[in-house]
Symmetry: D3
Subunit: 282 residues, 6 copies
């Protein structure tokens, strides 16, 4: 169950409204690296959590935080749209600067929302919930969360670089800090679990003896001329999953044949040339 | 540049075709945990790779491998559809077993593809390329790849559990093994890079002194009654990112006010009640 | 800013788990009539609210409620999946009943989520945020909210009809009651605003004298034989928007001509036959 | 069955072609507030209409009208693209005005359509049919239609504000007028039905005694500090649905417990830490 | 401008309602091979048609026909849902046949539409308008139309094979006949245009001397071992586009180098290892 | 199985990087006319190919080629982003030219990808795999491929027209040439098959005597006033499918009645007015 107090988690201030930056900020709201995604992802992970219940609470607690981040960014978009021009230039526009601001904007912030934020990315593509990763496997989910926070922090630093507005930079410095903490948080869960046993390969409850033993620790080469692909930490030495295996490297050759699905069945209505000869002759 | 030899990377054999399993297998082709995703993700990461060039080659090499995995799974779907019933039962179906097979299938494998695989997931939702993570930041991308392979291996083990067909289990045991290797592979890149310096928080090139120092290593509580959220590795002790910081924990209070966007502008055509008083009086 | 206490807003109890009902329940989570939609819609309406600020708070307050509804339903899905079969029947399935349960399920609840809810509808289509209506016009938004709660209550009554489980019916009776209140709530906002002036046509701040006066209160007929379309409250008597206009009815005839866009420009590379004659002759 | 006479319903005239406005107009074609949506929505409502048949005809009649509106707007887009520049400026563009026109455009109108309209919104996102609301409940559908026409009219007034072109303003004044009529039309259906009995809460055929009587007319508070949420018409006095109930207000407390889904099942392949202790010990 | 007479273009009759077939029929409504697609495609092609105006009229005329096909199919879905079971079986369902009918259905036809058709495909995926091909090039469009009608007729024959209902087969025999005519119709346009000059390669207005002359009529081999790919009509003899060229065949070798994008720019916030050495040293 | 050698199929060179052109190029990568689509389409057609096996190999061989085209274009995008401005102009931007470049760009190429290509179109819409046409019918698929290559070549010529950069024009001249060959290639398959029998109407294995003989070769008129629609090759003379039929033309009249679905069922919860009278009276 959730509650609100209507207030902002952290101050949101815009000194010089910039409607083009309002378009860029959308990526942090409705982009795949954005805040809607992490809020919903942590919720669904919590709601499907089986096993140690403390992780359910920890996830919900941070999900509540992320809802407040969407709120901050949506407010930032609205403030950046203050005073934005609403009328198109005449053809042969005298004022190219206004034209470039107009053209560089997301029109739907005006047309659909009346100068406010939308749950879309910086290209106007709506966020869709297929990006909510909640696999029922806690380590798999923690890696998904590190990914979300890593791409999220990368995005926030790029937005920080894009603007000179002191208010916006202050807000982004807060969000970047939270992304630092959250990356740590999810990795800390993995470390905590690793006190008991290795967590990789995910899932660690599948008996590894059932996987194909010839191919689980070898870096395979798929070069056209059979040249060895680049060596590195992944081709030599002990495996990095703590399972005590050893990496090797070798070129791959096809182990299967050219598949032959045979002729088509009449009821699928292919062209006659695809039918068995008997059918074709009819 | 890419090449092919028409052959299967690993044998694909189905002893007892099962059209309902043909629907389940779609998740490994066009699901977000599936093979189209990793093939395209590794390609786009390679094509945008700036910096050490060996990673470009390593990524492309494995992308080529993943293309062969899609091919194996698409072949497996086609073979599982051999002999599948094409006609609906009459109402009041005498043969409920056939009815349940018919109803449990993906109709489009017949209607749209003539008994073959589609680039969709097990619910028939087409794969869309927004799931290709290629951020231009190599550590961020490696975590995305660990995530992809971890959810992919989890999926493959669930499919393994779902079927008793020896041919399908043999194929899946191969794919599970490759997912083990690939999880290792991407983690090994991170370890290789960590020989030089810590790789977290991603991106590690943003000066951490520019992020908000009060909030980058504290686990914040958002409980309604101010109760402390669950403690763990993430709330106490040194940070896990190798940056030498220390975790702490505290309840969060709103640092911002209730935002007030003011009245609406006339040109956005709100209801009159939303306009400034002067406008409203007109 | 948002908070949580980890508890359920209302008890969620399942007496007889039914994995097929777990698929049906998805519509109330990730369907367009579902709870993710209203939660996000009320938030975005609040965050973009300009004008009387009390509506911002009222919207956020109810948005917090809706988050708890998603949580209830996600819990209900997980409970309905308890003990669900994970293995496919052999071909020629002896046990057709198990086969029909297996086939009637959403596979991704197992394959992608490990027996938990997904942010998708009952067909497995992910919710996408284009369904969040937040127009910046408060009356337009209130009608969107009545629509959302009306379709939501219709859905909940159909789910109620579909199941006999006492626990599920108890939960749904609560959600249906809340949909009753919320329909009232949004309509009450319109009534409150109508104390001042009519709220229709939306937006009521656009000067009606600028709209085409010949066509704003006439029900036009588009029948092939010019027959009068069905009369009703919309064709006769005073308009229902409180603006004092009078309805009429008449058949429509084309007021424009067949448009002619002329020949194509060479730089768009049409077929030669589409070019101006001079170009074509080259 | 449908017919055409190739002519425009209302004249479409562009005095000064503006390719950036051609992008904005897309919202009225393929946006969620646009004309494709209402045309298809009224059709599907008609085709699924059970009960009084005159509403089927009334809906189809207006659906035919809306098809002509798409046609008008598509023609308007094509005319606004007349003479649009097709070549990019060189880097360091001398002529910034042309650059801003170029950059502010939808490239696909040229690249994909050869200077014509697309069934996409002003951000280039294709219209998808999930926005077609046809619930089989006539009052629910009428509210959806009021919503569609209300957001549609708001959009049209914003487009009107955006342009100074007399031809475009004349066309939009016609469309705005039709949106006025259509809002009235759908509301008139509700009023007609209310001659018999109240139409809210939708659906009015579900026995209200089966909904939870403690929660169907109370405005619940979800404030973090238990403060009363904003009072208004929705918290006091008789309900607005005509059912003779009385509104009240009170803070909500969790009625359910923290849910516990228990340990995970082995066949779902979680991490070992999520398994029951017996399994984990293996 | 469009008109309607409320009647069906061709009789729609269902002798034995089958709710599972109602799911299959959705593919012909909202599938990519379905009738919404062709109706909208022919309209957008007409509305963007530049050059000979008779094709605009011909397209609109057939678009009107296709609207009536959607109507027929939507009616067929509604009739197939007559008497469909609405309640789920209890767990351990005694009546597996009803269970298999229930499970094999599209739940949203009940939950979202109250037993009616939806604008979705047989997997419940909503139609999206990106499938409307209208390129502004008439020959390109005609090939897109042949494709649409060819896949549409293939779908209709498969649906015909799936059902034994005489009413449904009669309706489908009509639709299959129309698909025959429409395939002919679009091909006839190409033949008519070819009276003047070859229509391939599309677009035929781009000067072929500007394309790379070494690669425009050669079938290139991309086999891993350099083996010759399969010969056929495409590798030998005169080109089939009427341009008088000659086919050849040869293995391809890379003409470009391994691309090197160089180090990353600091402002994009990559990992430090990706920065130029000078930056990295800081 | 697939292989790579890391090299480019054809040289990719950019003399004057243009970040706005980098946005336009996206259409050729992730647009529906783009290279991801053809690569995946040819693969899925091959993997589902039943009947003559040489076509499987031919398709896979060309699919490998298309992968290299995506690679070329992705490299071209990255090179066009060299030196692109990353910082927004201050409000009232002194330098409108930079502003127009900034605004005309795809922000996600910077924000999400760190100055690299994305699998999206020129409007930023991600490619989705529903555009992969693989019907199991070889002639249907070949027409889909001609369509793909025809729209692809049209797109490439428009991009060629858009840029003056010699490197980009050289690359595009290669891609245009390959589109010429591929159009020929797929048409050549049809011609090869036509040596045996006509390939239209697709599918040619459905017995034409089962389609409705009154409507399979007649161009029907749907004009509102019954006027004859435009005559042409499609209305007179022998059919163009080689089946020896004769075209005719006639106006269409409705052959079905106004459908009546009757009253709604109580369990679907319509409004009371839609119920049978007996129910309504309750």
């Amino acid at each position: 169950m959730f509650y609100t107090d209507y207030k902002l988690q952290y101050p949101v201030r815009v000194e010089t409204p910039d409607p083009v930056f309002a378009r860029a900020l959308q990526q942090a709201i409705g982009g795949i690296e954005g805040e809607i995604r992490v809020a919903m992802q942590y919720m669904f992970q919590a709601w499907g959590m089986r096993g140690p219940s403390k992780y359910r609470d920890m996830l919900l607690n941070t999900a509540a935080e992320e809802l407040g981040h969407i709120e901050m960014l949506a407010t930032a978009v609205a403030l950046n749209l203050d005073g934005a021009p609403l009328e198109l230039q005449e053809a042969g526009a005298q004022d190219a600067a206004v034209g470039s601001i107009m053209g560089g904007r997301n029109f739907r912030q005006f047309l659909s929302a009346g100068l406010a934020a939308l749950p879309v990315d910086s290209d106007g593509v709506p966020f869709d919930m297929s990006h909510v990763y909640a696999s029922g496997n806690i380590a798999g989910d923690m890696y998904a969360n590190i990914t979300a926070e890593g791409t999220g922090r990368t995005l926030a630093t790029r937005l920080y670089h894009m603007t000179q507005d002191p208010g916006m930079r202050d807000m982004l410095a807060y969000l970047i800090a939270r992304d630092t903490m959250h990356q740590n948080q999810w990795k800390a869960v993995i470390e905590e679990l690793e006190d008991e046993r290795p967590q990789m390969p995910v899932p660690n409850s599948f008996p590894q003896e059932q996987e194909n033993q010839d191919f689980n620790y070898v870096y395979l080469g798929f070069t056209a001329d059979g040249a060895e692909p680049p060596r590195g930490r992944w081709s030599d030495g002990p495996s990095v999953d703590g399972q005590g295996a050893t990496f090797s490297i070798r070129p791959m050759e096809p182990l299967g044949e050219v598949p032959d699905l045979g002729p088509a069945r009449p009821g699928t209505y292919p062209q006659v040339a695809q039918l068995p000869e008997a059918e074709e002759a009819q």
